[in-house]
Structures are given as C-alpha cells and as structure tokens.
C-alpha cells in the first residue's frame, strides 16, 4: 500500500470556499495556507513498514496454551453485536510509518497515552490518539510479524504474533470488546480472549507479547531511541479528536460509569471503568487494581493455590505480573526490587513473567467472572 499523497490547496479556492464555511460556523479566523498539509508533519518518516511480503497464508500462528474459559464459544458468538461499522469499516493500519522520538507527530502530547512495544530491542510507541481510529496496526517489529491492537471501549491494548496474515476489525463487539478477524480464514478472535471462537481457527489460541500502556513522556524517557507511529496511516481521519472522550485529562466515556453495550456480567467491587491489570493462564484469571498497585508497589496473592507477585514500575507507570509458585520473597529496593539479596528492575525479576494488560474492570469481569482479585 502506498503512503498518503499530499498536495497543497489552491489558495484562492480554499480561501473562498472554506472561508464561507467558517463564516457559517461563526468563526472568522483564517490562517495563511502553506504547502505543508499534515499535522504529522513535514518530517521525513524514519521508517515505513511494507507488510505485503508477509500477507497470505492459512491463518495466524497458534500456540498450545490453556486459558480459562468462562463461557461456551457459541454463547459468545450469540452475544456478538454490531458496533455500527461493517467488517473493515474501521480500517487497520497496514503500512505503518514511524518518526524518530525527537520529531513525534504534532498531535502527541507529553501526557498522551502510548502503547509501548520492545521486541528484540526494536522499540516502538503507538499513540492511543491514532489507534482509536484504527484499533489494529499490522506491523513488523524486531523481524517479527505482529499486530498491535487497541479497543477503546474496554481500554485494552494487546499484542499478537500474526505470522503471514493480517488482522482486521470485524465490526462486531462482544462484551464491548473488539472482535478481530484474520484475513486468511476470517475466523473471529475477540481481542481480550486471544482465542478463536468461530471459523476454521475455533479453539485455537494466539501467541501474545507484552504491551506497556504508558505516556509518551515516560516512554521516551525510558527509550530515547524509540520510534513513534505517525499520522501517515493511509486513511483520512480527524486525528486529535477522540470520538469517545479524552485521556488527557480523563473525561467522556473513559471517565463515566456508563457502558455503551451491556456487559456479559457485572460486579460492583470496583467502578466499571476502574483500571485493572489482568492476567490469565493455566491457573485461571486474576487481576489487580492498578491504583492499589501504585500505592503499595507490591501485591501478592494466589490463584488456584499458586503464588503470584505483582510489582509496580514507576518509570512507566505500569505493573508486571509474575508467577511465584515457590513464594519467593520480593521486597522493594529503591526504585527496584530485591530478590535473594539481589536487585532487579520491575520488569526483570528472576521469576516467570506472565502477559498482563490494562483493562476496564467491567470488561475484565464480563469476560472472566471467575477472576480472582489479588489484593
């Protein structure tokens, strides 16, 4: 796919035509026209990814992995409802373009949320304000074909290995959550579940990788050489105007207690939009309250008799979940953590780390009503 072409407007036509429109809207300001047209800027991209070589195949790679299932898949398919747009009506980004950290897209504020990825030292940031219009980026990071996905209605950003196929937005929602489809077999893959629930890949499980939900300011401080996705997405969108609200400051859908679609199940232990960090594996589903983790820095608990330890990473304002079957003692040591008299960064404890992701409480509980809340 080609990158978007850009052209300047004929000044006369624009001045007459849009000056009239502006007048009708009661705003008389008019700035001089320039040749440069995109707030993403006039900056030469540091990288534009061509994923065409990886297109095709018979479906995404799947892994032998046991995840908790609180519903029959048929019931989930029955619970699917249209979110409005048809399949691919929300276009995924299939030719992502990136800038260097020192020339980020103009719409990216210091406190704007980004979804950070580090695969084999290839570090990238995907701004929430761009992904809210696309929900899926089919990319190649660290020589791995991956999909970086985001669902605005459940506040979930998750990464999947996609092999030789690309993912798209099906237009269906289950439990308010994005239902992806793979373009090879059109199987349905609800994002939060990471499992195929309909089509040739029913009962298959995707391989995931960790995505960090943080802010641009924190991410670039931690990874100064990061690349950042720019607005050259191939689509014309009103970037900078989130249709659901704002995260900086938090308002609209992201703040209130209303859900747009009925959750599968509800629970009032937390407000519906409270952010939890959820983990699911062969032991079951568990979550921790992110605010509580910020305050306490270490939260320990057990799931199906197995110990778990969650630690807070202040630099990125995120948390990591470790399986801790031997219940090894973990203590704070400055900004780091002490295990067996040695200090470790929050993301590098000598314990098996589980994939975890931020989610709104209503969405997590809706999909995993059997969840343990570690506290």
């Amino acid at each position: 796919m080609a990158t978007p072409s850009r052209r300047s407007i004929l000044a006369t036509a624009a001045t007459v035509g849009f000056g009239t429109v502006a007048g009708c809207l009661g705003d008389s300001g008019q700035s001089a026209l320039t040749d440069e047209t995109n707030p993403a800027g006039d900056v030469e991209p540091a990288l534009t990814v061509d994923i065409s070589e990886t297109a095709g195949g018979s479906g995404p790679p799947v892994v032998d992995r046991t995840l908790p299932r609180d519903y029959e898949f048929g019931a989930l398919v029955d619970a699917a409802q249209s979110g409005g747009p048809p399949q691919d009506g929300i276009p995924s980004i299939d030719s992502p373009s990136f800038n260097d950290a020192d020339s980020p897209p103009a719409g990216l504020g210091e406190a704007s949320p980004v979804f950070g990825v580090d695969i084999e030292g290839d570090v990238r940031a995907y701004p929430q304000y761009i992904l809210v219009w696309h929900e899926i980026v089919n990319d190649i990071v660290g020589d791995e074909s991956v999909a970086v996905t985001y669902c605005p209605l459940t506040g979930t950003a998750q990464g999947f290995y996609r092999g030789n196929v690309t993912f798209g937005v099906s237009g269906q929602l289950i439990n308010s959550n994005l239902v992806m489809f793979d373009r090879a077999t059109e199987s349905w893959w609800p994002q939060m579940l990471a499992e195929g629930i309909q089509g040739p890949h029913e009962n298959d499980t995707l391989e995931e990788f960790q995505i960090v939900w943080t802010t641009w300011e924190r991410w670039k401080a931690e990874y100064p050489d990061t690349l950042v996705l720019n607005e050259n997405t191939g689509a014309a969108r009103n970037y900078g105007a989130d249709p659901y609200g704002s995260y900086d400051p938090v308002n609209g859908y992201y703040e209130d207690d209303n859900t747009l679609f009925p959750p599968l199940q509800t629970d009032d232990r937390f407000p519906p939009k409270e952010v939890v960090i959820g983990t699911r594996n062969q032991d079951g589903a568990s979550c921790i309250n992110k605010d509580q983790l910020r305050e306490e820095r270490i939260i320990e608990g057990s799931l199906d008799g197995i110990g778990y330890t969650c630690v807070y990473d202040e630099a990125l304002d995120t948390g990591y979940v470790y399986r801790n079957p031997d219940e090894v003692a973990v203590r704070t040591a400055g900004a780091e953590y002490e295990v067996d008299d040695s200090s470790y960064a929050a993301d590098a404890l000598p314990l098996p780390r589980e994939i975890g992701y931020d989610a709104m409480w209503f969405a997590w509980f809706g999909y995993y009503p059997s969840t343990e809340v570690l506290a």
């Binding site: 705003d27 300001g29 409005g84 929300i90």
Partner: protein, 202 residues
C-alpha cells in the same frame, strides 16, 4: 371507483399541486432564499452530525488524500456511510471529504430545503396550513439520525444510553425512513398549497 384508483387519483392530484408549488417556490425570491439557506445550513449540520466537519484551529491549512482514494470512497463505514477520501484543513475548519456521504447529505438537504420552502409558502398563504407547517421540520430530524448511524456509539455516548441489537437495527433504518418522511411531507405540504392564493398575496 376502487380504493386503489381513488388513492392513485389523490396522489396524482397531490403530486400535481406539489409540482406547481415547487415551481412557485423556485420563482419567488423569498421562498427560493428560504430553500437555499436551509439547504446549505442543513448540509453543514449534517456534515457536523456525521463528524465530517469540525472547528480545528490547531492544525495548519492543507489537504491530505487517503492512500487509495477510490478504494476508500467505496468502503462502507456504517449502514449508510462511506469512508473519507481527503482531509481538508483551512486553519479554521477541518472537513473530512467523502463523496458519497456528501452526496447523501446534499440530497437530504435539498429535500429538507424544498420541504421548508413549501412550509414557508403554506404559512404565507391566506389560509393556515395546520400540521403541514411543522411536518417539514419534524421530517428533517430522522435524516440527521440516519446520517449519524455510522457513529452510533458516539450518538449513544452523547445521549447516555446503552445500545442493544434492536436499537442498532433501528439506526440502520433511520436514513431510508427519513427520506420517506421527507418525500411524504413535501407531498403533504405541497398538496395543501393553493398556488393561485399565494400568488394573489405575493
């Protein structure tokens, strides 16, 4: 005479009177002004309702085309909406241009313009037109809802409601229902206008 032929005869009468009323509205400066103003105004409101028109003073003037404009133009983004092919910034307003959505909006705006212009004529004619005077305005509202069907979650967010499958289906039908209501209101109002009486006053 059968019911069918009587209905058909009445429709023909209404259509004939409506045609004459539209010709009259087009020939008079005041009613044509109403038509033009309403058409332009409604189109702008429609584009705003479907989020294609916004005040954006924070971005420089310019235009960005979609990577594949023809493909984008034909890509459906909702039950009655299609994708945008260009992002046009003036430094004041931002217009997301979709040829099909704009065409739909323009067609609706013309229908609303005609409806309101006829309502205007009905009001200035000697005899009051009763319900006919307001039906043109009422018919215009579902058209806006229909247009925004592409952005149903956003509409629900504004209204603070939770969406069900039934409601999504209703949104999908809003646009054709709006068109039917607009055409119906034009025939209804046009059929009530006595062209000769209006001419006598005008």
């Amino acid at each position: 005479m059968s019911i069918a032929s009587r209905t058909s005869g009445r429709l023909a009468t209404y259509a004939g009177r409506t045609q004459a009323a539209i010709r009259l509205a087009a020939s008079r400066r005041d009613s044509f002004g109403v038509f033009a103003g309403v058409t332009v105004g409604y189109l702008l409101i429609y584009l705003w309702a479907i989020q294609h028109l916004r005040i954006r003073r924070d971005v420089e003037a310019g235009i960005v085309w979609a990577a594949e404009p023809t493909t984008a133009m034909m890509r459906r983004t909702g039950p009655a909406s299609w994708d945008t092919v260009a992002l046009i910034d003036t430094g004041v307003v931002r217009l997301l241009f979709s040829p099909i959505n704009t065409g739909i909006g323009f067609a609706l705006a013309v229908l609303v313009g005609v409806s309101i212009a006829l309502t205007y004529l009905a009001l200035v004619q000697p005899r009051a037109c009763g319900m006919g005077a307001s039906s043109g305005f009422l018919a215009a509202i579902p058209a806006l809802v229909g247009g925004s069907a592409c952005c149903v979650p956003v509409v629900a967010l504004v209204l603070g409601i939770q969406l069900t499958g039934t409601m999504m289906t209703m949104f999908a039908w809003a646009l054709p229902v709006a068109v039917a209501m607009l055409v119906g209101s034009i025939l209804y109002i046009g059929g009530k206008i006595d062209v000769n009486a209006v001419n006598a006053v005008g």
